[in-house]
């Protein structure tokens, strides 16, 4: 449905996007994930038509968008600061896009969308009197009301506190799935991305490092950046791995995925063994979180509750890693 091919963009001397290619299917929810300054907002603005790419191809349903001005693209874009019009009521904000596009049954669609986001009673309120969460919902309703063929959200939950975010995330996804909305959302938070998206595209310094389902990105990070950004730890090189384990490996850089780490017990001998110092342990209810130093490297992983006690910090521990979870990186 949406095809981006080799999009490039610079501001002055700074290359913000280089050769970004991405494809979206109808009804798909894709999340652009990356640290701030990686170019994800610029990519959204290019798709919306607010910026022009220096090079590359942008097509929607086969049609080249190059000459289509912003207001004729029929996309929706929810801004990070929500950008609610301060001189209009909640309902007027939501109705704006409907009026601009000359759609019919404006009032009906407005109240319908307001109910969808749970604000049916707030239509006549002044937007300055709303709480942060309510403003976010109004902004969402305003973007959804004209039924955009593509909805883009720039850090939609960025300005909200953690509790509210956790509540709204599944709600957001549900609204999109129910309405069959095609969505591109942008965030720097990998949990938010995993909770909302069908596919995650990880951006770093203007290029897409990996684009896969959240499960694949998490279980099979393609390179060190993705692994680090997903909070999976730092890679080790082959020499280190061979020296520590005595086993042989193909490749030159590896991630020891935390999902494959266990404390070695006397019986089990499967997998690869490592020995190190327990630097830190913190109790998290259903599991322990352990930080272990092994020959200059640090590993963090969760340890499910066991009957046998976990050693005190400072103790020597032996770790056992599934071979399947030793992932070669690019």
């Amino acid at each position: 449905m949406l095809h981006l091919r080799k999009i490039c963009k610079s501001f002055g001397d700074t290359q913000v996007l280089s050769n970004v290619s991405l494809e979206l299917q109808n009804g798909e929810i894709v999340c652009l994930l990356g640290p701030s300054g990686c170019g994800k907002t610029t990519l959204l603005r290019i798709i919306a038509g607010l910026e022009t790419p220096d090079a590359g191809d942008l097509r929607f349903q086969g049609r080249d968008l190059g000459d289509v001005p912003v207001h004729e693209r029929n996309f929706g874009l929810m801004f990070q600061d929500h950008a609610l019009f301060p001189h209009m009521t909640v309902a007027q904000n939501v109705a704006f896009g409907l009026r601009m596009r000359g759609q019919e049954r404006v009032e009906e669609r407005t109240s319908e969308t307001l109910s969808l986001v749970g604000l049916q009673a707030m239509g006549q309120r002044d937007v300055s009197t709303l709480s942060g969460g309510e403003q976010q919902r109004v902004a969402l309703a305003r973007s959804l009301a004209p039924r955009p063929s593509l909805l883009m959200l720039d850090e939609p939950l960025g300005s909200l506190d953690a509790g509210l975010r956790e509540r709204l995330l599944p709600e957001l996804r549900q609204i999109f799935v129910e309405t069959g909305q095609t969505v591109i959302t942008v965030t720097h938070d990998q949990q938010e991305a995993s909770a909302i998206a069908d596919r995650i595209a990880i951006l770093n310094a203007g290029r897409i490092e990996q684009c896969d389902t959240p499960q694949v990105v998490y279980a099979r990070p393609r390179n060190a950046f993705v692994a680090g950004f997903m909070g999976l730890g730092n890679p080790v090189c082959r020499e280190w791995l061979v020296a520590q384990t005595g086993a042989t490996f193909a490749g030159h850089s590896f991630l020891l995925h935390p999902a494959g780490m266990r404390r070695a017990n006397a019986a089990g001998n499967a997998g690869v063994m490592l020995e190190g110092n327990l630097a830190q342990r913190s109790y998290e209810g259903e599991s322990w979180r352990l930080t272990v130093h092994v020959a200059g490297k640090t590993f963090r992983f969760r340890l499910p509750l066991e009957v046998s006690p976990v050693p005190e910090a400072g103790a020597r521990v032996r770790l056992q890693i599934d071979r399947d979870w030793i992932l070669p990186l690019e």
């Binding site: 004729e72 600061d81 950008a83």
Partner: protein, 545 residues
């Protein structure tokens, strides 16, 4: 803005080029090279004893006005910063109102109070049973200085209180601990610390009094001539255009230099905050100081305005509305050519035209500044502030009276001149509200399907409406009160209120005096109303949006 509308943005620049730069250049050519070749000897003719006298008097009266105003405003500012007392904000507002009043109203008010036909003379006659005119001040330097102090008191008061309110008392406390007391504290600490504010206030007051025109022609009875007055007399009465042009060049040059100095000095001033919380006065000494300063301000600022209102309502047999009724009659026919009421109509018409033109141009100029390099555009649109109204008016007669631009007969000539005077204020009113619109609002609207024109109409326009309203009131009141340029270019049939007041005040007799007072009151009320609305809107504006 659509591609079609983009050239519209250049309209304000075109306006400045045609009606500001072109007239000023015409004056330059007339003064320096009337026959095409550079002829400086004409300029040298100005170095006659008479013109040097004019220049000297212009400077001396401006210096005197500046020194007296600051000397009087300094203690008042001290009291207003140091203590909070009932009526403080009313006094501050009153001083600002005096500053925004048209010069003819100021002149009329001063003359209603202490002029030979004024209240004080009436009182003296009654109380002391004197005959004639016991106190004759018209045509003296004293009455000119009094009017200038009345007019510029707010300038000194605002700048000094703003500066003081923003400073900590740290240095003063340190000096006090070190043993400084009384006058030494003032002389060695307080005043030196205040120097940037004093310099800025002094420069601004000097600029205003240096170009004073209305006050001097009305109250000075043409016994005194400043550069402004001399330009007017040479051009209109003697029709000696080259000399007027030479004087204008001197005036324009000096004004640019002064404005440059002022803008440098102003950069050193902090942005005025609202006056901090001050304690109530304590003990009889402090109350005495407050009462003295407050009483002085009340007499200086309120008495002339009160006298004006009283004079407009009092006849030989006490209270009367006769002067207002007489405005519709053209009693002296030949003097005014039009009944005064028609001048009210003229003024309203011109003010409405000015408001419309200035709003459109101001909005376009502000939009242009948002898009293009503001460092050059901002000073450019402020330029008319650095040019006196009389030189503008003179430039209009020199430049716009022959093809390709012959506007002498056009009824738009006066609104155009007024727009030039008002444009800096209008731009300054609109720009902040335009700046406060976050770009994401416009982008949101266009993503939602609004065309560039719709974005402007639905987002920009409603959000700048507050600034537009302030700008509109500025344009309207400035146009209603503008005197210098109007006197130059208004034809007898389209005389404005200030021009008619000037003519009436120059005529003997109680009828003319009464009518002048009545018209001044009309102008006073119009400007006060505008002033009150602007203060309200600006105060309310700080919270919303």
């Amino acid at each position: 803005m659509t591609r079609l509308a983009r050239p519209l943005l250049l309209l304000p620049l075109l306006f400045l080029a045609l009606f500001y730069v072109w007239p000023l250049l015409s004056i330059l050519v007339l003064g320096l090279a009337p026959d095409g070749a550079l002829a400086l000897e004409q300029l040298w003719q100005l170095v006659s004893p008479w013109h040097l006298n004019v220049l000297a008097f212009t400077i001396v009266q401006a210096l005197l006005s500046t020194v007296i105003t600051i000397a009087l405003a300094l203690p008042a500012a001290w009291v207003c910063v140091r203590w909070s007392f009932p009526g403080r904000s009313m006094l501050l507002s009153l001083s600002t109102l005096a500053f925004v009043l048209p010069t003819v109203v100021v002149a009329a008010a001063i003359s209603a109070l202490i002029g030979s036909r004024g209240l004080v003379n009436d009182l003296l006659r009654h109380l002391l049973a004197l005959d004639g005119v016991p106190l004759r001040l018209e045509g003296t330097l004293a009455i000119i200085l009094i009017a200038h102090v009345f007019y510029n008191f707010a300038v000194a008061l605002r700048i000094i209180t703003g500066y003081w309110a923003n400073r900590s008392t740290m240095h003063e406390d340190a000096a006090r601990v070190l043993g400084a007391q009384g006058w030494r504290l003032w002389w060695e600490v307080r005043l030196p610390l205040l120097r940037p504010a004093l310099l800025a206030a002094a420069t601004l007051i000097f600029i205003f009094t240096f170009t004073s025109f209305g006050v001097i022609v009305i109250l000075g009875e043409l016994r005194f001539s400043t550069l402004e007055v001399e330009i007017y007399l040479q051009a209109v009465n003697l029709f000696n255009l080259p000399v007027a042009a030479g004087l204008s060049i001197v005036q324009i040059t000096l004004m640019f230099v002064l404005m440059l100095v002022y803008s440098r000095l102003r950069q050193r001033l902090p942005i005025a905050l609202r006056a901090a919380q001050a304690p109530r006065p304590q003990g009889w000494r402090q109350w005495l100081a407050v009462c003295a300063a407050g009483g002085f301000m009340l007499v200086l600022l309120a008495a002339p305005l009160l006298a004006l209102v009283i004079r407009s309502l009092s006849g030989a047999e006490g209270l009367t509305g006769a002067w207002y009724a007489a405005l519709s009659q053209d009693v002296r026919g030949s003097v005014l050519f039009v009944p005064p009421v028609q001048a009210v109509g003229n003024s309203l018409f011109f003010a409405l035209c000015t408001t419309a033109i200035a709003l459109v141009l101001g909005l376009l100029a502000a939009s242009l500044m948002q898009r293009r390099n503001r460092r050059w555009l901002d000073p450019l649109f402020m330029l008319p502030l650095a040019t006196s109204a009389v030189t503008l008016g003179f430039g209009f007669i020199v430049a716009l009276d022959e093809p390709p631009l012959d506007l002498r007969a056009s009824p738009l000539l006066i609104p155009i001149a007024h727009t030039l005077v008002a444009l800096p204020f209008v731009v300054r009113s609109i720009l902040p509200s335009l700046d406060s619109i976050s770009p994401s609002l416009r982008e949101s609207a266009s993503v939602l399907g609004a065309t560039p024109w719709q974005v402007w109409r639905q987002i920009d326009l409603p959000l700048v409406s507050r600034g537009l309203m302030v700008g509109a009131i500025f344009a309207f009141t400035i146009s209603m009160g503008e005197f210098g340029a109007s006197l130059f270019i208004a034809r007898p049939a389209n005389a404005t209120i200030p021009v008619v007041i000037y003519r009436l005040l120059g005529q003997p007799g109680t009828m003319n005096m009464g009518q002048a007072m009545a018209m001044s009151v009309i102008l006073l009320l119009t400007c006060s109303l505008g002033f009150v609305v602007i203060e309200r809107v600006q105060r309310a504006g700080s919270g919303a949006f």
